[in-house]
Amino acid sequence: MRRDLRWHPRAIGAAIRGRLRALFARGAIEREIDEEIRFHLDMEIDKNIKAGMTHAAAHRAALVAFGGVERTTESHRDARGTRFVDETIADIRYAARTLARAPTFVVVSVFTLAVAIAIASAGFTATNAFLFRPLPVPHGDQLLAVFTSDFNGREQHGASSYADIVDFQRAADSVADLAGETRVMLAVRANENVTFTQGALVTSRYFQTLRIRPVLGRFPVVPDAPTIVLGHTLWRRAFLADSSIIGRRVQVNGQPFTVAAVAPPEFRGINREIAVEFWMDAALSPIVLRHDNMVRQRGYRSYRVIARLRGAQSIDALNARLSSVAGRLFRSYPDVWRDTTGAGRTARAMRELDAHTGSMPRTQLVLLVAGALAFGFGLLAIACTNLASMQMARAASRRREIATRLALGAGRGRLVRQLLAECSLIAVPGIVLGVILALMAAALVSRYRPIPLPSLDMNPDWTGLAFVAAALLITVLIFGLVPALQAVRADVLTDLKGGAQPGADGLRIGGVRGGLIVAQVASSVLFTALAGLIAFGLAHSASQGRDQARKVLVTRVNFLPAAGDDRQTESLANEILAGIHSIPGVEAASASASIPVRGARWSVYAETRSREGETKKRELDVVYVRPSYFDVVGIPLVRGRDFESRDIAAEARVAIVSKAMAGVLWPGEDALGKSMRLNDGASTAEVIGVVADPDGFVPATDRSYPGLVYLPQPIRREAEVMFQFRAPRGQAAIAARVAAQLRRYETRIVAPPAMTIDEYLDRALGPQRIIARASGVAAAFQVVLAIAGLSGLVAYVTALRRREIGIRTALGATRVSVLRLVLRQGVRLTAMGAAIGLALSGIVAEAIADTVSMTPAVVASGLLLAAAGFAVIGMIAMVLSARRALGVSPAAALRVD
């Protein structure tokens, strides 16, 4: 038909209706065709019988006239235009049946993919929130940041002082709302719980400028009474989300405050890097902080300033006001607004979001996000590798099937589509599950804020999520397709004849295939080593000095301003320590600035003079301790004497060194009586004692020296000190008595319940434990998948060499030589992968050694064990799957079918 009404609207409507019906009412359509054809044949048979034929003849004639019922139904299907869909459905069914035979593999692959996507997209959301989203407050995109520059304008994003903010507010009042925030650490006590936490001092109009609404209560407007606004996390943690909290009295640094409001969960202050958990008006700070420079000193620039324009005011109008007030301050306060050359500071407002990205900080959060992204993409790479290796192994064993189908005339495109369906069956559920996980995680995070995340808008970003999912889908399909395409490139003739015949150059495992196996083995070894190393390191540090650590209780004491001046604080510390010592069961009580086994470590530059008269300057690990510290932690004094109270009171310049340190500083000499210049002559110290080396002590870095220098610890006000006391038995009862004693000083100190150093270290090592567990899981995944890959490889080689093996066996080859033939490739690839994995682990191990105590021997044995362990497991797997090669009967192998 040449005259075309094909594009007539009604024709198009009919076409769409027809195809939709064909797709969704397939069953009904097939039944209708059957009925229609049956009717047709019956009519024809009737006609034939009437024309005088026998029943059988009539029947036959009808069928002949019809011209093939099957063909008609088939061309009927063609005419319906749904062949593509039908075939796709068939592909998926076929793929599902194939995958159902390897359920473990499917579960592991889908799960790896899902976790990878969830982590990658969480990292993506966090990055996005950190860098590109406004603060989670109403109309956060309209917020401005106001900065005071330094004199030469090099630092544009400088903080401001409280006094300056008051002047800014006054000058800009008609144009914008303006407020500031600075951070403080304060102790908040509710009933028996004391929380020492990060909070913020804010200027008036802070909450009004941000326009956030409290979950409970009302934000204070004027600081006429001591009130505090609780952050959502603090409210949940310390007050168990008590909804009757408003108006309740709490102690802040020992002073009574009233709870005015509870902030919404997503708001954690205006600093994106550090979360705060409560807010109070800066004007109230003299009540809780003795030094009032946070409020009174114009030169004390610690406040971040935000602003919000009023009505239709422009940022230029605000900047005009700010520069005029800056000019006035420049004239009025030359000492803080002007340097000696006469250059002055400037004040400027810009969009908060721009200012934030403009001065990208290298904070831990950035590292965290980068780490999450790297981990996510790493997992993804693994997931992709696994998919690819699955396809590889399967393609290998299906070479003949594929060759047969190609020979029978199947299009290569058709075969690719079928292999693609198999990939999709893993990729699509993996991605869907991953997106669901990501959404759930985002919902959890934005609702409950389980981790102390700063103010970040963590709502899932749909475009971002969609983009990630789509990109991943494509990546995964490509990874799955590469080996699939290799398989389809198969040489029909060779494969039909029974497999590639290894030529003179031996059997080559394609670059992609070999690379995949190597990558998989490498990542297995890497993750196993990582998990093993951390576990080793933890066990190692746990076993070292563990007996002592179990006998020592520790509590981290913070001295509050009410403790008085330095002298009063010092005597308070002595009083508390004496009180603890008097508890029956406590053998000794002391304090140190840190716990030197792990974690925070101070260092000091020490200059010493050797026997030959040459001076040497070194950076040494140092611990500040109080008298009887060595009795508490069970380190015996070897020579000389311990620190005494009078040393501390007189600020005597004395030091104690450990034996190893004495050997470093004065080799072959008696350290006692020697002196060292500390921190470029800031002070000197005379060695009054030598102690044994602490068990399990490892220098903080490669550059530090073994052993420790101990210096006396005077307690200054607002100090944080580790109170430690030796109690070999009945620790729970003693800890309770200590807590009761400490409560007597509650306006002057904050102290959490005491625990053994053992427990304390356990908690401090939490993150490392999580990493160890995560990499343990990853290692398990990897080992399983690598073994699958290796067995697949061996199966592949066996399949390819079936004929050769048959001939060799017929000619009398031994089992060993057959095994060698089959395993050669796998062993080579495993060795390569293991070598790469070991090299990578070596690099990673160095990074871990910084956080987990580990000696080189531990590292080396950990790495070798991981590699050896994998090699053994890999060999077993390969030999198991090679058994099939041994079972090849010459007769069967040589038969050409």
């Binding site: 005259r3 009519m43 006239a65 009927h76 319906r80």
Partner: protein
């Protein structure tokens, strides 16, 4: 399974014949096949069954419609009818066909 469908000319002719048949009265598949067979043995050389794909094609182009009805011997049968669009297409096709046949006729007569 052969994917080839009858050549375009044949298929086009068959579609035209089906349309023409249905222009006279609504009819079921067997009836259409009978009618076409009576009129032209050749068009259904591939078998009566080839009427059915043609019916689907025409329907997907909105040229015919169908509904289930009762046949002359009291059985359920699917009856096809021509649509307005179908009539327009038939007229146009008939016109084209005639012009084409006349052209061929003229050429044949000339030589």
């Amino acid at each position: 399974m052969p994917r080839e469908t009858p050549g375009d000319v044949l298929q086009g002719t068959l579609d035209l014949l089906v349309l023409k048949t249905l222009a006279l009265e609504p009819m079921h598949g067997w009836g259409i096949a009978q009618r076409i067979q009576q009129l032209s043995e050749d068009a259904l050389a591939v078998g009566q069954g080839s009427v059915y794909p043609a019916l689907v094609r025409l329907q997907n182009r909105g040229l015919i419609g169908n509904e289930w009805g009762t046949s002359e011997n009291n059985r359920r049968a699917r009856y096809y009818h021509i649509t307005a669009l179908g009539k327009r297409q038939l007229n146009a096709e008939t016109e084209d066909w005639r012009r084409y046949a006349r052209a061929v006729e003229l050429i044949l007569r000339a030589t």
